[in-house]
Amino acid sequence: MPCASAACGLRRTLPATLEAIEAFLIEFKRSACPAERADRFAAELLLREALTNAVVHGCRSDANKQIRCAVRFSPAVLLIRVKDDGEGFDWRSAQRCGASLTECSGRGLEILRCYATHVRFNNKGNVLTILKRFKKGKPQ
């Protein structure tokens, strides 16, 4: 059931598969707080990109590996923390390079940068924390 004002949260350990991500996203969408359509879209997109990044780049789609995901959300704020079992990656280099206009990959980080208020990786690159403040909630 959607929460009206108080913060809600989900915490799950998932196998590193795209199917597991989809199941978790269905659960998230059933309970997600933002009232505005555009905010709900942004919240799902950010969570989707964080989880896909962990599965595809972090765990190389190895279903034997796991992803730990914690999401807290209120009508004003979304906080996502995703940790994967992988070796990490050079996020500094990836952020510097970005995707050229005609490249088919590399837009996940760009989406995170454009839609999130703050994005942070740990040093190793296997823990991603995202903060999103919603415009229609409390002022930033």
């Binding site: 896909t52 990959s105 837009r107 760009e110």
Partner: protein
């Protein structure tokens, strides 16, 4: 389900009720490759029933655009929702191909 309609040189693909995301885009990728391999040069992607496109879906559209451009063709995206229009504009997709809304 993916609906394909052909009108002269224009082929329109409508992924009916499917998000274009990493977990679900394999079928759409295969269908688009098949259509381009058959010689289609004007490809239209109808997003009227698509709610979400993620970075993998964006990559699929860019890949189709690159292939068609090399062959002298073109790609257009139509009936994108307000959220998808904003996403495409944020990622400057309109610099590649035509993107229009509902």
């Amino acid at each position: 389900m993916i609906l394909v309609t052909r009108d002269n040189n224009k082929t329109t693909v409508r992924p009916d009720g499917e998000d274009i995301v990493a977990a679900t885009l394999q079928e759409l990728r295969a269908k688009m490759r098949e259509i381009v391999a058959e010689g289609a040069r004007e490809l239209v992607i109808d997003l009227s029933t698509v709610r979400m496109v993620d970075s993998s879906g964006i990559g699929l559209l860019i890949s189709a655009y690159n292939t068609l451009q090399k062959a002298g063709g073109q790609l257009a995206v139509i009936h994108a929702s307000a959220d998808l229009l904003e996403l495409f504009q944020t990622l400057r997709m309109h610099q590649h191909f035509s993107v229009s809304g509902d």
